[in-house]
Amino acid sequence: MIQLILFNVTNGLIIGAFYVLMALGLSLILNLSNVINFAHGGFLVVGGYIAYTLEPYLGFWGALVASPFLTAILGLAIERVLIRRVYGRDPLYSLLLTFGLAFVFEDGTRYIWGAQGKPFTVPAFLTQPLSNELFFITGYRLFMVAVVAVVVTGLFLLLRHTRMGIRIRAGTLDLDTVSALGVNVRALRSLNFGVGIFLAGLSGVLAGGQLGLEPTMGAGLLMPSFIAIIVGGVGSLIGTLVGGLLIGVAAGLTAVVMPQASEAVIYVMMAIVLLVRPRGLLGEEGMLT
């Protein structure tokens, strides 16, 4: 029983780590540019498939590093050509635009790489269970959590200590003033979008190693990421982090008692948060509401 609970909690933590990576990217873009990026799941899928394509040439490690950067470059191009045009307009238009892009991505990957799932092989030494007792803790799972931890720490350090990070945080609070102080807001938004898409690409590669690749995998991860943001509080990145881990673990624990409800429980959590604390756990009143 203890093993079962441990198994599901670890599972939940790992899933939560994914949600965090995905939701942090979404959250960055949402906070600074007020754009809900529906196409985020699409970028995730593209990241995974690019890694799949590169692996025969660069190997696992090369693909792991290169793919997120390439995905981010694709993201920057799309931001430049399309998304930039809807900044400052009614959020309706950015929603519809990224929503359409999500369709384009999903069918585009299906067209290029085929509808069948693709395996993304990880080095053999990572797939071994670490001990017989805790058979479910494979090296790859630990590795994923470690990567997520490092990247998330890096992101928070970046935001706290670099000039760009400080500008992004300031822009989240009051973009007009930041602009008036002489910061190039266009470039800031592009850069911020690129960072968000980088995180999506990285989640795609990591998820591909664990679950294999499918054109629809992005859509399935998108909704929990939304909920992570709502539960954690719109406008707070720490909130998104907490929200993602929380719903991951909650889903894992529910799987112990009632496996079929593990997906539903995150919506219940959202409903409770909306009822009791509409701004989200760590959200500030008045942000984007």
Binding site: R85, L92, L97, G100, D107, Y267, M270
Partner: protein, 330 residues
């Protein structure tokens, strides 16, 4: 001078009124005669019925989006709930079309009213996100509770019942033209109600909130309450359209609740022109015909629907009606 100007104004107003009446007559005439002219353009009656039902859904979304300025991106939830309510009654309770419609409308409307009350104070992006998540809740319920809803396969094994009018009964199951007219009458009923609400003081207040919420608040209008009422009405209309959709297909499936369906309704409204009363119907017609055509050409039809979304945002943000009107004035 002022007398002459006044005269010109009344002449203009008269002309405007005649023009509006002519447009209305043309719309209703085209709808009433659709089963006769559509086959010549390569359409078929069931496609026309689909346009009416989805058009009603898009108009209900637009009731909120275009006239109150509130962006709900999860309205498929109420549409799908209407469909399931109607289907479940027809399958398990009674073989009665009117009872099915009533049940569907009430189910979607009441749940919309309750959940709407939780979020009416939210706005913009946040409102959109929460409504998307709401929609997904019902999607998962319909998906998981397969003993009741048929799960992923959808709710099957029910059929619309003949209409019992006392003296005679109308077969709307096998006679698709009769069913078209039945849906048209239902459509007209709701559209007339919508039109009256929008012309009422309440409707004017909705538009005032859309134009300037802060000013409306300063005028002492209970803005949140008005938005809640508008949201609730829109949910009832939406659920009504959803019940008709279940009758149309003799089928209800979880995808009808999914947020991609919500996106389709919003794009129909925007494509046609969301500041116009009839815009969403035009948008629905274009969307349904296009989807019907593209999905018969390629399996990757969603790719092209996605491009349509992008094109609408970039080139027709005011919709087809807004676009043509602008060109007419220029």
């Amino acid at each position: 001078m002022s007398v002459a100007a006044g005269k010109v104004a009344t002449v203009d107003a008269d002309r405007e009124r005649t023009r509006k009446l002519a447009i209305l007559a043309a719309i209703w005439g085209a709808l009433a005669l659709a089963p006769f002219w559509m086959p010549y353009l390569g359409g078929y009656t069931a496609l026309g019925t689909r346009v009416l039902v989805l058009g009603l859904g898009a108009m209900s979304v637009n009731f909120l989006l275009g006239f109150t300025g509130v962006l709900s991106f999860g309205h498929a939830a109420w549409f799908g709930l209407g469909a399931y309510g109607c289907g479940l009654v027809l399958r398990y309770v009674a073989h009665s079309t009117s009872l099915g419609i009533l049940a569907g409308t009430v189910l979607g409307g009441i749940l919309g009213a309750i959940l709407g009350a939780l979020i009416v104070r939210r706005r913009g992006v946040y409102f959109a996100m929460v409504t998307i998540a709401y929609g997904q809740v019902f999607y998962y319920i319909a998906f998981q509770w397969s003993s009741l809803t048929g799960g992923d396969d959808g709710l099957r094994d029910f059929q619309r019942a003949p209409l019992d009018l006392g003296v005679t009964s109308v077969d709307i199951l096998y006679n698709s033209t009769a069913f078209y007219y039945f849906v048209l009458i239902c459509f007209a009923l709701v559209v007339v109600i919508m039109g009256f609400i929008l012309r009422s003081p309440f409707g004017r207040t909705m538009i005032a909130i859309r134009e300037n919420e802060r000013r409306a608040r300063f005028l002492g209008i209970p803005v949140d309450f008005h938005i809640w009422i508008a949201f609730t009405l829109s949910c009832f209309f939406m659920a009504f359209a959803g019940s008709l959709y279940a009758l149309l297909n003799n089928f209800a499936d979880p995808l009808g609740l999914h947020y991609s369906q919500s996106g389709n309704f919003v794009i129909m409204a925007v494509l046609g022109g969301m500041r116009k009363f009839w815009g969403p119907l035009l948008g629905a017609a274009v969307f349904v015909v296009l989807q019907d055509y593209v999905s018969s050409m390629t399996v990757n039809w969603q790719f092209f629907i996605g491009l349509l979304f992008v094109a609408v945002v970039l080139f027709f943000p005011r919709g087809l009606l807004g676009f043509f009107q602008q060109r007419g004035q220029a």
